[in-house]
């Protein structure tokens, strides 16, 4: 009787769950309620798994996007923190002011990590709030791509016009502003979903708010005030790091393995 009931399920289902399902059925006598429940379960499995050759888990994809997004967010936070401190002239013995290749390389790595972090964390959060998250993802994603193009242009062409008479520097600056404003929007959206650390979202929102004035001041008047640099570095960098750490924490199992 039990074997016949299990055969009602499709082969791909039996391959994955057959043994443990049979073990559950062996635990107690089967009554009319159980038979009806199993028949309905088998119909559900046949409808759901129609055309599938194997049972795959999207959960693995979710965990992967969360893990990649988390690692990239921590890397982006660390690299941007370093870049912000260096751009304020606080690390002259590490990054010389006239060594543009090193500065470009640091910014490119930080921007690329930011793009990966945004993609991974958005993919995870969008499961519950797709519209809000993808809307918040669009601006910083476009910003990071544009700023990366600007950085590559600066490395190859210096200040020569790159696209429609616009120089690489302006392209980079425009992309960076979009990425920073977008990071602020992403932080607000993340705070609303509550799927990642709200403390990290708050830090990132504050850091994004202070990032632009710090950047503009450093370009126009030399060194920005140290309090602005501190708030920007702590907010923007630590915000991404805390969000990344909370994402990696979510990948871990909630409870220790303790089979019943």
């Amino acid at each position: 009787m039990r074997r016949h009931l299990i055969r009602l399920y499709p082969a791909v289902w039996r391959e994955r769950y057959g043994d443990e399902f049979e073990a559950v059925l062996d635990e107690r006598p089967i009554g009319p309620f159980d038979v009806a429940d199993i028949v309905l379960g088998a119909i559900d499995a046949r409808l759901r798994l129609r055309g599938r050759r194997a049972i795959t888990t999207t959960g693995r994809g979710t965990s992967m996007s969360l893990r990649i997004g988390g690692i990239a967010a921590i890397a982006a936070g660390a690299v941007w923190g370093f870049a912000l401190v260096a751009s304020a002239g606080l690390l002259p013995w590490v990054v010389a002011e006239d060594d543009q290749r090193v500065q470009f390389a640091i910014l490119a790595v930080g921007t690329l990590a930011l793009l990966v972090a945004l993609t991974g964390l958005s993919a995870f959060q969008s499961r519950e709030h797709p519209r809000l998250i993808w809307a918040a993802f669009a601006l910083p994603a476009v910003g990071t791509v544009v700023s990366l193009v600007g950085l590559i242009g600066m490395a190859l062409l210096n200040d020569a016009p790159l696209v429609a008479g616009v120089s690489s520097w302006y392209l980079f600056s425009f992309g960076l502003m979009a990425a920073v404003v977008g990071s602020g929007l992403f932080a607000i959206a993340s705070y609303r979903t509550g799927a990642l650390s709200r403390r990290g979202s708050t830090l990132l929102a504050v850091g994004s708010l202070f990032f632009l004035p710090t950047f503009i001041t450093s370009e126009n008047q030399g060194a920005p005030s140290s309090i602005m640099v501190v708030i920007t570095v702590v907010g923007f960098s630590l915000g991404w790091i805390v969000l990344g750490a909370s994402a990696l924490r979510d990948v871990q199992p909630a409870t220790a393995p303790r089979p019943a």
Binding site: W13, R16, Y17, D19, E20, F21, E22, A23, V24, L25, E27, F33, D34, A36, D37, I38, V39, L40, G41, A42, D44, A45, I55, T56, T57, T58, G59, R60, G61, T62, S63, L66, F124, G194, A195, R249, D250, V251, Q252, P253, A254, T255, A256, P257, R258, P259, A260
Partner: protein
């Protein structure tokens, strides 16, 4: 408001009961069934149990461990724990609102 996991259709309520059962540690299928039955006083069939388990696993809310004989334990993932906490907070707020409207003292 019925306690349920969003997006799971008619297996939403059993899925939430399974998540609650796994909240205090990994369990295999039969242990989950008996736990849910003890908590709710209603029987949970094996068909319903595995329809819900497969959805929860696909969504990344639970994950299977290595089987012991033929029994395979499942445990809550971090994502699953976060989702369960969010659902339970929603239910708690709903229950408190209901009690307020009834004029009943709240816990």
């Amino acid at each position: 408001m019925t306690p349920k996991v969003p997006g799971f259709g008619r297996y939403a309520e059993p899925s939430l009961l399974i998540l609650v059962s796994l909240a205090d540690g990994p369990k295999h299928g039969y242990a989950i069934m008996t736990d849910v039955e003890a908590e709710t006083g209603r029987p949970m069939g094996a068909g319903t149990l595995y329809a819900a388990l497969s959805r929860l696993e696909e969504s990344g809310l639970i994950e299977p461990l290595a089987p012991v004989d033929r029994r395979r334990p499942y445990r809550l993932t971090g994502v699953g724990a976060a989702m369960l906490a969010e659902q339970l907070r929603g239910l708690s707020a709903f229950a408190q609102q209901g009690l307020r409207q009834l004029g009943e003292p709240q816990p």
